[in-house]
């Protein structure tokens, strides 16, 4: 046998290596390790399992408080089951509950305001600091310079109202909603009975896009289809509601009121109908100028169509005329709300009734409060307050006035100079200016009239009502009127309503607003009209924080970081705009941009349809820096009755 030399050794080694390779492959180890490698590199997550059960809960995303069923896996809530009676906003409530950007401890502003730079502090520290600030303001005799802005009427907002009023300030406001607007114009909330109605005429009210009680309206809508109820939408853009309606009456933007007046004219003149209200005479005299022909010239709707609508309205047994332009974000001038509500009273509709919110009674204000309450005048609404009043301290409860007011920029400047407390689960554009952000819990974590919370509250967050209570208890002189231990004691007391006061037609308001409107429509410098539209689930902007909202949006709304505005093809041709072109929208107030043009014939000529709800600066990682906020440039004329800037019409040009 030959000795093993270097060459042979190489051969042995080669054989060994080849052998190991083959053996390894056939043992299956490489495949299993690859599988592990796949799982490891892809971070394959397996949701933990647990016992399945369904719990009853209340959706508090909007004031309608639908009851829902929540699917639980162990202690986790995994699904909202609405069983054909929910709304898309309610479906996102789990995304709110488990939002990664939820704040779990009070935050104190460090550094300059408007940057959303916070450091966590303890609850005791925060409450002590806030209440000592309030005590200081009371001591210096500026009680009426404390104000509050609420998102909507609920337990915590009533409690906050009570606290602010008890201190001696009138300035507790709500973000503009259908309720606040109608309360200003008509003197109470309107309660529509859509289920029994047999004719629905909507003046720009996007009933199927979040308007009012969206869950019950969708149910009514399918019933209308079955009962063959006529549903007519008067709108300047072919929105979702307009297309789902039986008939869409296209009009020139902002001219809904002229259609209403034309119909009223026809009803009064031709049908001899009327109302017994006090100043109906003065009002009908003004409306008398708008014959169907005159209205037709202003709106672009054929006179015959207006007459047809009037006839149908008068013929119907229980017709409903609906005002309040928009879906989740609603705006309308008081003249328009009165005109449309007027139609209901003229045809004596049984389906529309009024009611009023009632705060729980028994406040014991501090001694000096009465004097301040008498002296300072309460503004008619939220925008008027933001525009005209100054304040030393503002408590924001869930609301986002910096984003949602047309005076957002002015408000931000005022917030920089004052002490701001924000109570909310997610930091929004307003909270970015706050000195303290107090984390509040969401609907599934709070006890409601329906029963116990669905899930345990997030550590560190408490109910907004509890936060208000804790502050109030530290304010000198307020202790006896805030003796409740926790918000749970108040559940039965809040959310009460009563019948509304009398309704007046207010002819003078109509006259003034019509003059303004005509002037705006005749503006040759700004030849286009801005019409806000709403994307599904995003609504008026609150929904954008929830990433699943993006799953619903199509390329006609928001795509690849760009907001699309819809422009009529003819108009675009006239202005030399091509599809997908980047644009800036300019009004007298300023400009926003850039947005992209989407040419479609589904909007009327001379109209720019801009989606609402985009353009947040601070509102979780999902909503930040997405698109533009058209409110920055919208019409800021304040309506004297509602105290809110109405979007009657905003004239714009494009560049």
């Amino acid at each position: 046998m030959k000795k093993i030399d270097r060459k042979d050794f190489l051969k042995i080694a080669g054989g060994a290596i080849a052998g190991s390779a083959v053996g390894t492959v056939f043992s299956g180890a490489p495949f299993i390790s690859l599988q592990w490698l796949v799982e490891w590199t892809q971070d394959q997550h397996v949701p933990s399992s647990g016992l399945e059960k369904y719990l009853k809960g209340v959706c508090e995303i909007c004031p309608n408080k639908c009851s829902i069923s929540v699917r639980m896996i162990g202690e986790r809530a995994v699904k909202v089951e609405t069983s054909n009676s929910g709304c898309p906003f309610g479906q996102t409530s789990l995304q709110m509950l488990y939002h990664p950007d939820r704040i779990t401890t009070p935050l104190k502003n460090t550094g300059s305001k408007g940057r959303a730079k916070f450091t966590p502090v303890t609850w005791d520290e925060a409450i002590k600091d806030i209440s000592s600030k309030i005590n200081g303001i009371i001591k210096s005799g500026k009680n009426d310079r404390i104000a509050s802005i609420n998102k909507e009427r609920n337990l915590s907002s009533e409690l906050l109202d009570r606290m602010v009023n008890s201190i001696g300030s009138n300035h507790s406001y709500y973000e503009p909603t259908l309720d606040t607007l109608t309360a200003g114009a008509v003197g109470g909330m309107l309660d529509y009975n859509f289920d029994d109605a047999d004719f629905i005429l909507s003046f720009g009210a996007r009933l199927l896009e979040g308007w009012g009680d969206s869950a019950s309206i969708s149910k009514s809508f399918s019933r209308w289809k079955e009962r063959k109820v006529k549903f007519i939408q008067v709108d300047s853009v072919c929105t979702r509601t307009a297309s789902a309606a039986d008939e869409w009456v296209p009009i020139k933007p902002g001219t809904e009121i002229f259609v209403a007046l034309g119909i009223a004219n026809h009803l009064i003149k031709k049908k001899g109908m009327g109302s017994g209200a006090a100043d109906f005479g003065a009002w009908s005299a003004i409306a008398g100028e708008y014959t169907p022909e005159a209205a037709s010239r202003l709106t672009g709707v054929p006179a015959k169509k207006i007459e047809e609508l009037a006839d149908a309205l008068s013929r119907a047994k229980s017709p409903v005329a609906v005002a309040g332009k928009g879906g989740k974000a609603i705006s309308s001038s008081s003249a328009e709300i009165i005109a449309v509500y007027g139609l209901n009273t003229i045809v004596k509709s049984r389906s529309v009734t009024t009611k009023q919110n009632v705060n729980f009674a028994g406040a014991a204000p501090i001694q000096t409060a009465a004097k301040f309450l008498a002296e300072s005048k309460k503004c008619a609404g939220f925008d008027e307050f933001v525009k005209t009043k100054n304040f030393d301290m503002l408590i924001v409860n869930g609301a986002d006035p910096v984003y949602k007011s047309v005076y957002g920029k002015e408000l931000a400047a005022k917030l920089e100079k004052s002490f701001v407390v924000a109570i909310m689960p997610l930091v929004n554009d307003t909270a970015a200016y706050a000195d303290y952000v107090l984390p509040s819990i969401t609907s599934f974590e709070s006890k409601t009239a329906a029963g116990d919370p669905v899930v345990k509250p997030v550590d560190g967050a408490i109910h907004a009502g509890d936060a208000v209570l804790r502050i109030a208890k530290m304010v000198e002189g307020l202790q006896q009127s805030f003796q409740w231990k926790s918000y749970t004691d108040l559940i039965a007391l809040t959310g009460k309503t009563a019948g509304a006061a009398g309704f007046s037609f207010k002819g003078d308001i109509l006259k003034k607003q019509l003059a303004d409107l005509k002037k705006a429509l005749g503006d040759a410098n700004y030849s286009l009209s801005l019409v806000p539209i709403e994307a599904p689930v995003v609504g008026d902007g609150d929904g954008l924080a929830f990433p699943y909202a993006m799953k619903v949006l199509g390329s006609e709304t928001f795509s690849s970081g760009k907001l699309y505005v819809q422009i009529n093809r003819e108009t675009a041709k006239k202005h030399g705009i091509c599809n997908n072109e980047s644009l800036k929208i300019i009004t007298e107030k300023g400009k926003v941009g850039s947005v992209k043009a989407l040419l479609t014939d589904s909007v009327s000529p001379d109209t720019v349809a801009v989606p609402m709800g985009f353009g947040h600066k601070f509102y979780t990682r999902y909503a930040e820096d997405k698109g533009v906020n058209p409110r920055e440039i919208m019409n800021d004329k304040i309506d004297p009755l509602t105290g809110t800037a109405s979007w009657l019409v905003t004239r714009v040009k494009l560049s």
Binding site: G14, G15, A16, I17, G19, V22, F26, S27, G28, L51
Partner: protein, 215 residues
Amino acid sequence: MIINYNNLQLILNCYSFEFCLKNTFKEIRSKLVKRSIVLITIPFIVFTYISFILFQKACDYGMNLQAKKMEPFNHKTHTEKYGATCETCHGYDENGRFKGIPTIAECTSCHDRKGPATSKDPAQPLKKPFLAKHKDTDKPWESFARQPDLVYFSHKVVMTAKFEDGRLKSRCGSCHGEKGMSTSNDKIKGKMLMGQCEDCHTALNLSNKCAVCHD
């Protein structure tokens, strides 16, 4: 494109093939090649065998996911002496979910925390010293046969499936082995492989479509 018939003929005669075979064998016979083949083949076979065994062991170890043995348990005495069936301890929740490992609370439904250590009366609940170490909610054993993640599997449905004549299609032992007769808590199986499920499905003429178990 021009077919050369002469060349084709050559191919048909297997000229080149034969030629090369002859030469190849001649070379193989030479000592040089023989020695090389031995030198390469032997380590090849040896190392194939070693690495095969080694890596298969390693895979088995890994697939067991290192179940810890916490408390000893004798299945055999429980099933033989006291007539317990698998379901006695590893039953179902109300919604059909398999309970898996029983909690101490279920042990104490037969055993007693305070009873005597020994007794002649078989009905007398006996005291088990290790119970003192645990709370009622504890599960002092770990699962020895794990279903892989991403599989939808209902024990109840499998256990209630019957043939036409009323016989059950599966027993616990079909997948878990004769665990009921074991005296130790040794592992029987690691992660169950999909092939095992599929084999039974095929044998019992059940659907083997993907969505039957996966989602």
